[in-house]
């Protein structure tokens, strides 16, 4: 069976969208990961403020490994290697980051008596101090991209579909 012109153009549009999502997500993770990897103490300090780790070794290990995980995912997404697997990893990371940012922002809001969107702090995301609402919106956008890459149509310009 051959594709009709409309399904062929639909496929093409989907493939381009998937390619755009993959490239954008990969570039964001590469840049953010590199920023954290270049300044490990800054990221360690930011991570510490979330009080997620009861043990300092676990905190140090997370601060050391996470930026490189982001870099690897970014590179793989850009190159088109293990794309769906990387998208799932970014999806999990983004979900955990967003929940952590939300919880911290709520704690800051309570202690300072501010409007939620007026809360501003360095979330350790690699972009310095940010207003929490903006950060959460950005993360939602990235989550949508991650879902698109993980579950959407595969673009044909991948180096290697699987590991």
């Amino acid at each position: 069976m051959t594709a009709t012109p409309s399904t062929a153009s639909g496929f093409r549009a989907g493939a381009w969208a998937a390619l755009g999502a993959r490239f954008f997500l990969g570039a964001v993770f590469l840049v953010m990961g590199a920023h954290k990897a270049l300044h490990p103490p800054d990221f360690l300090g930011a991570l510490h403020q979330y009080h997620l780790f009861g043990n300092h070794v676990l905190l140090n290990l997370t601060a050391s490994v996470l930026p490189w995980m982001e870099i690897l995912c970014g590179l793989f997404l850009l190159a088109g290697i293990a794309v769906r697997g990387c998208a799932v990893v970014t999806l999990v990371m983004l979900t955990v980051f967003s929940l952590a940012v939300l919880m911290r922002a709520l704690a800051l809001q309570q202690s300072a008596g501010l409007l939620f969107c007026a809360v501003r702090f360095d979330c350790g995301c690699g972009s310095g101090e940010v207003f929490v609402c903006r950060k959460l919106l950005e993360n939602v956008g990235l989550l949508v991209l991650a879902v698109t890459v993980a579950a959407g149509p595969a673009d044909p310009w991948r180096l290697r579909h699987r590991l």
Binding site: H48, L72, V88
Partner: protein, 205 residues
Amino acid sequence: MTGTDVKRVFLEALAVVAMGAAFGVAANALSPRGLALGRNYFPQVHGGSAAKEAPRTLPGGAESAGAAIHARLLASGFQPIDTPEVLRLHRDPDYGQELTVFVDARNDRSYAEGHIPGAWQFDRYYPEEHLPDLLPACLVAARVVVYCTGGECEDSEFAVLTLRDAGVPAEAMAIYVGGFNEWKEHQLPVETGARHSGAITEGSR
């Protein structure tokens, strides 16, 4: 996607996590700026946690924020000092004779961009790089003033703890609450580059 595809994607994700973890541990071990995995960079401060729930945008302005930090430092057993006292110490002849020592607890980049003239650098995350030169100076000094960015910055507190553990008497050390930001706000002289580089930008006062 079929069930097999989903399983395959999750296995792929696990493989990526394993590769990323191995990559990260190796990179951290090889990097000169890597973290020491076994070191506790955030020791518990006497009198409560050093971690504060203090956002940058505080109601009541900088004054009430400064007062809150002042009170918290006192409660934690530190000696907080403010700009007038810091300025007095900086202009005291003891400063030129190294009987008063200023310690900048910020990182290389921030220190090079500007610090209080004559201040030693002590990036507490890499104590082994700074302590060999800094410690003898602190041990002979009668007064050691430690600062970081100011405000919610905790690095000066942890730097004091590290110096105290290295043998510097706690009673000789004070924390400049306003930190470098407040120093700059008062348009006081700033030295760039290395300590005693001679590259000093004079403020308007």
